[in-house]
């Protein structure tokens, strides 16, 4: 798995400008690309430690999902991570002996599909999940941006964002931290 080691040794890579623009808090000082763009896995798969499959609770059953319940809700994502021995917690700081995952959600929702910065957002209910990030041993976070690149970002806020009208750009904001005992 790429990550902190790669950050120190090779020249830093960044997202193309048009992708970076989707994340108003993502500045070059705070992140770098750690793996190429790929449709092979998504953020939930990465957070669960699997870079070989796309994890999603889609109703059509096309994608991998390890539990019976298949709903695109924060609760369903929490239930899935709990099945992998994660448990809810409140602190995002790095704690020795634990790995952490953060779930993001869209607090506002969207009543109709909209385009923002070249990215289209479907109609979604408020509080729908948008993203999952995984904490690295150095305390930074690792995210797979959908089918785009995988990045390492220093803070959770890097992927936050709503515009002034409240319409969502980027991944909304963190809603739940989960931790798993590694000992």
């Amino acid at each position: 798995m790429s990550g902190a080691g790669k950050m120190a040794s090779s020249p830093k890579r960044y997202l193309p400008k048009e992708r970076e623009e989707n994340f108003p808090y993502l500045t070059k000082k705070l992140y770098e690309v750690t793996d190429d763009e790929s449709d092979n896995y998504n953020c939930i798969a990465l957070a669960a430690g699997d870079k070989t499959r796309w994890w999603e609770p889609d109703a059509s059953g096309v994608y991998y999902w390890p539990i019976f319940k298949r709903e695109w809700t924060v609760d369903c994502l929490i239930e899935m991570f709990e099945s992998l021995n994660f448990q809810k917690c409140r602190c995002s700081l790095k704690k020795r002996g634990f790995e952490k995952v953060t779930l993001y959600h869209d607090p506002v929702g969207c009543i109709e599909g909209i385009s923002n910065f070249g990215m289209w957002h479907p109609e979604v209910l408020p509080n729908s999940p948008t993203h999952a990030a995984k904490q690295l041993p150095n305390g930074a976070w690792q995210s797979k941006l959908g089918g785009w690149e995988e990045i390492e970002h220093r803070t959770l806020k890097c992927l936050n964002g709503t515009d002034i009208t409240g319409k969502r750009i980027s991944y909304g904001k963190p809603i739940q931290i989960l931790k798993r005992d590694l000992t």
Partner: protein, 144 residues
Amino acid sequence: MALVADRIDYYEVPAPYVEKCPEDWWKRGETFEYTDHSFSNADESPSQPEKDFNRLAKKWKNETSGYSSAASMVMHPAYLEIISYGEKMIPYILKDLQQKPSHWFIALKTLAKNYSPVKPEDAGNIKKMTEAWIEWGRKNGKLS
């Protein structure tokens, strides 16, 4: 427009070929042959449905590929428009999948009337899902 043969009820022969064909050809006991260049490889310019597919697919990919949820990606109007064309889009989707795996699986399953050739244990494995659909396309004459 007259049809050259009633048996070809799904295909209307273009006017120039109908004009060349004698009206009583069926009485002569001869075979009348023609070449329809719209089906020939000599002219490789894409057909209108293929042009539409390419345009819609490009728009869909550009605007949704940063999404964590494929189910959200497929709600894009361009993706839904591709599905609305029906089964004739399957060859173009498979051709696109051959070039670069992408999230066409929900469209393919929909267009194949809820059939999926993907083994349950391969769900989510984009490479294996792509291979399964391409193999299915070859077996079913959807992909040359």
